[in-house]
């Protein structure tokens, strides 16, 4: 990509519309991380397109001085796909929530991951329906008491990472909204990846599901509850980096690291071709295990729109019908004189 001869600062990406999330909402820090990341991507501002569905997170496009499309509930991936195929030069970002993309938009979410267009999905997961004022969502924890589950939710939450690994999405990551620095780095990495990106961002809904992610946000305890995945680095965590993940009986297990077992600790690889360990990592359940954050997977394959353009080029060289005149005279024709 050519170097832009323009440098942006954060203000260039702020629209005139004032932000209207609840005071204390995690979405504010995501907003800051995203527009900061945008200034660092070497992409002209007019080539950004943010597409959203419906929900608190989906108000996002209005706050950014880019092209934006606030669409309908669950359908942002379809709009994004159509725009990408029409103009592959656009940098397209979908901003969506857990209800928007995993409940009403579940079908589109699966298929956009499968088809692998160069589109980035920022999935704001607060494990609750916020804009409709507090009902359980597909990622709500079992037992969560909400207005529609007064005795506790009886549903098993959907695991975004496990789903994305199963579909073989090409870039899978997770960030916690309170850790702005880490989140911003992940967003920049996604911006530089060519292919579908899913970033699950855990964001606190202060009104309807407060402290849902407290163990991963609180500075005093989070290092014991989170494992940062880094490509090529060992899977270790803990305040003093004293715990590690190893394979034991076809499962992952936590060990206290000592000299004699240090060599058993697994080393993370984002581009492993076998799904197995990615899948095990995706399925770690807190509190028995730490919550993995960072980039789980990052592989390069040709994107959907690249293949579409390949076929178009092939046809340009091989098709017998070259123009509109060829087309409309291509049947069995006869002349009336």
């Amino acid at each position: 990509m050519n170097k832009l001869n323009i440098t942006y600062n954060k203000k260039d990406f702020q629209s005139a519309t004032s932000l209207k999330w609840c005071p204390g909402c995690g979405d504010y820090s995501i907003y800051n991380a995203v527009i900061n990341a945008f200034t660092k991507l070497n992409i002209a501002r007019e080539n950004f397109l943010i597409v959203s569905g419906i929900g608190c997170s989906s108000r996002f496009p209005y706050y950014c001085e880019t092209y934006g499309f606030h669409t309908i509930h669950g359908r942002a991936p379809t709009i994004a796909m159509g725009a990408k195929l029409t103009n592959p030069d656009l940098s397209i970002w979908i901003v969506t929530g857990d209800g928007d993309s995993l409940s009403i938009g579940g079908n589109h979410f699966i298929h956009i991951l499968r088809k692998n267009p160069d589109i980035k999905i920022l999935l704001f997961n607060n494990e609750i329906y916020g804009l409709t004022k507090g009902q359980f969502s597909p990622t709500s924890q079992k037992g969560l008491k909400t207005k529609t589950s007064p005795l506790g939710s009886i549903e098993k939450p959907l695991n975004i990472w496990a789903l994305a690994v199963a579909i073989n999405a090409t870039f899978i990551a997770r960030a916690v909204a309170t850790d702005t620095k880490h989140m911003q780095k992940i967003i920049i990495d996604a911006g530089n990846h060519v292919g579908i990106c899913v970033i699950e961002i855990l964001t606190n809904c202060i009104i309807f599901n407060d402290d849902a992610f407290y163990p991963f946000e609180s500075k005093s305890i989070r290092n014991d509850n989170i494992i940062f995945l880094m490509d090529g680095e060992p899977l270790i965590y803990g305040k003093n980096n004293n715990k590690g993940l190893v394979l034991k009986d076809m499962n992952l297990a936590v060990i206290d690291i000592k000299d004699e077992n240090k060599k058993d600790v697994l080393r993370h690889s984002t581009n492993a071709t076998a799904h197995t360990l990615h899948f095990l990592l995706a399925n770690l359940v807190y509190p028995a295990f730490p919550l993995p954050v960072g980039i789980l997977k990052k592989i390069n394959v040709r994107t959907f729109e690249q293949i579409v353009m390949d076929q178009e080029k092939y046809q340009e060289e091989h098709a017998k019908i070259k123009n509109i005149h060829d087309l409309i005279t291509s049947g069995d024709t006869w002349e009336v004189k």
């Binding site: 629209s15 519309t17 002209a44 501002r45 007019e46 080539n47 950004f48 397109l49 597409v51 496009p61 209005y62 001085e65 880019t66 092209y67 934006g68 499309f69 606030h70 669409t71 309908i72 359908r75 991936p77 379809t78 709009i79 994004a80 796909m81 159509g82 725009a83 990408k84 195929l85 029409t86 103009n87 030069d89 656009l90 079908n107 589109h108 699966i110 298929h111 579409v308 076929q311 178009e312 046809q315 340009e316 098709a319 019908i321 070259k322 123009n323 509109i324 005149h325 087309l327 409309i328 005279t329 049947g331 069995d332 024709t333 006869w334 002349e335 009336v336 004189k337």
Partner: protein, 617 residues
Amino acid sequence: MIKKLGLKNIVIRFAGDSGDGMQLTGERLAKLSAIMGNDVLTLADFPAEIRAPAGSLGGVSGYQLSISATQIYTTGDEVDILVAMNPAALKTNIKLVKKSGVVIVNSAAFVKKNYIKAGYKENPLNNKYLASYRTMSIDISKLVREALKKLPLSTKEKERCKNFFSLGIVCWLLNRNINTTVEWIQKKFFKKKLIAEANHTALHAGIKYCEANELFNTSFSIKEINKTTVLKGLYSYINGNTATAWGLICAAQKAQRRLFLGSYPITPATNILQELALYKNLKVIAYQAEDEIAGIGTSLGASFAGALAATSTSGPGIALKSEFINLAVMTELPLVIIDVQRGGPSTGLPTKTEQSDLLQVLWGRNGESPIVVIAAKTPSDCFYCAYEAARIACKYMTPVVLLTDGYLANGSESWRIPDIDNLLPMEINNVVKGDDNFQPYKRFSQTLSRPWIVPGIKHMEHRIGGLEKNENGDVSSNGENHHQMCYLRLQKIKNVAQEIPFPDFYGKEKGDLLLISWGSSFGSVRQATSNLIKIGVSVSHCHITYINPFFAGLNDLFSGFKTLLIVENNLGQLVVKIRAEFSVHTVSLCEVRGRPIIVDKIMQKAKNILNTTYKGK
């Protein structure tokens, strides 16, 4: 000595199992007749099953065509010649044949197992069942095997050629020139020389069999149409779905935009998606989406990004797309929505035609959602209507629904290939240069349309969405503003009336009875009107292509008549809109029998109205 009888018009119907190749046979006869200079209309009648059990009633596939020496508008009320390849085909089609019509059957298929399966207690060839028809019972299977005995093909492969043998019989009977079909066989089976030879041999064998055996004491000829009534030019034979696809490609090429079709397979609209998938090099993206909603969603995204965008579906798909149609209404983006109507409600009759989605596309959405609706009247008219839908969508920045139906989609007719340069220009509200003071919803005064600003243009970054906005494009939930915006969007659609030409009108401008049609009911109504006028009954016919908005002068036109007879393939839908907008006396003729209403019924209805209402005149 065989008599040769000249006819003005003849109706032939081929019927057999889904796999018998009846569609292909009918299509060949239609094309070669069109090339011979006749007017030809066709009606394909598919079963819902791809290959229902052999010989079952549900698996019968039919293809009807009307060949004429004068201009015709329908495939005919009654059949003159039926070719039935098995008892089930006979059973389901015999009621369409006129008394003393010709019935040609493949006697080899009339074994006990088959006629029992078709619901006959005894062999219908051996009793008086077919006494009132001129029946030709021919062992086509055996004759084909004999004709092809020298070719190294399996018995099954040889049997498959029996459709060409039956085509040979009909070609002899109608004195058809088969040269163009022979050429077509060579081209079609270019890579399978043996199959080409077999089909060619079978076709000739059918003709020779008729010559040698003097089966028929009469053969027929249909004169070519009077050339002075036919425009000079290059002609092709086209079906409705292909015409729709080509119309869209033409519009995109003239607009110098990429064409994007987001669609999900659904009968009877799928062929539009399949046709467009062939022309990637003409800057066409035919995107097969994961569902109906994604079909229109990708199209709307493509439209925002600057493509000429369309989505194709049938009634059940429109129901799923409704929310997205409204997003297109709200964001004021151009979008062509093609509804190839079929029998409903629900899954209904997927392979049969109907015109029952009109009220759905007009009013089946939440909120005040004005939209342009136009309907094609014949297979080739689908070309012009698809082009027109795209033209209006771009000029007025609005979704436009194009209604066609199963009859038009699968029906074919000859089409004079137009000069693309003569089509109305595509007017695009292009904005290509940045301007910091621009407003995305600033309207042009003549149309009330907004500019089409495509992502990628510097200093034009803006946001659109489904929330109500004010004229600056900012989100607003102010009631007063919403009231005004609803009226603005309505007025924009009403302004489309300035585009609408005088309707296709036939007959005197004043009188007692005006027949009204829309969509594919055009053919039957025009034929009925023409027939009535010929026998001295004074009626007129107005065909309506633009359903929303209506042609501005429609009220004046209607006021010249005492009664309007509205003919539609539903239980009365256009009549609802006409009565809502005009103070007129209407009578409806409605049917949902899976095929266009027959001409005779329309004539009877018109006569009844005139006799009972205007007695003594």
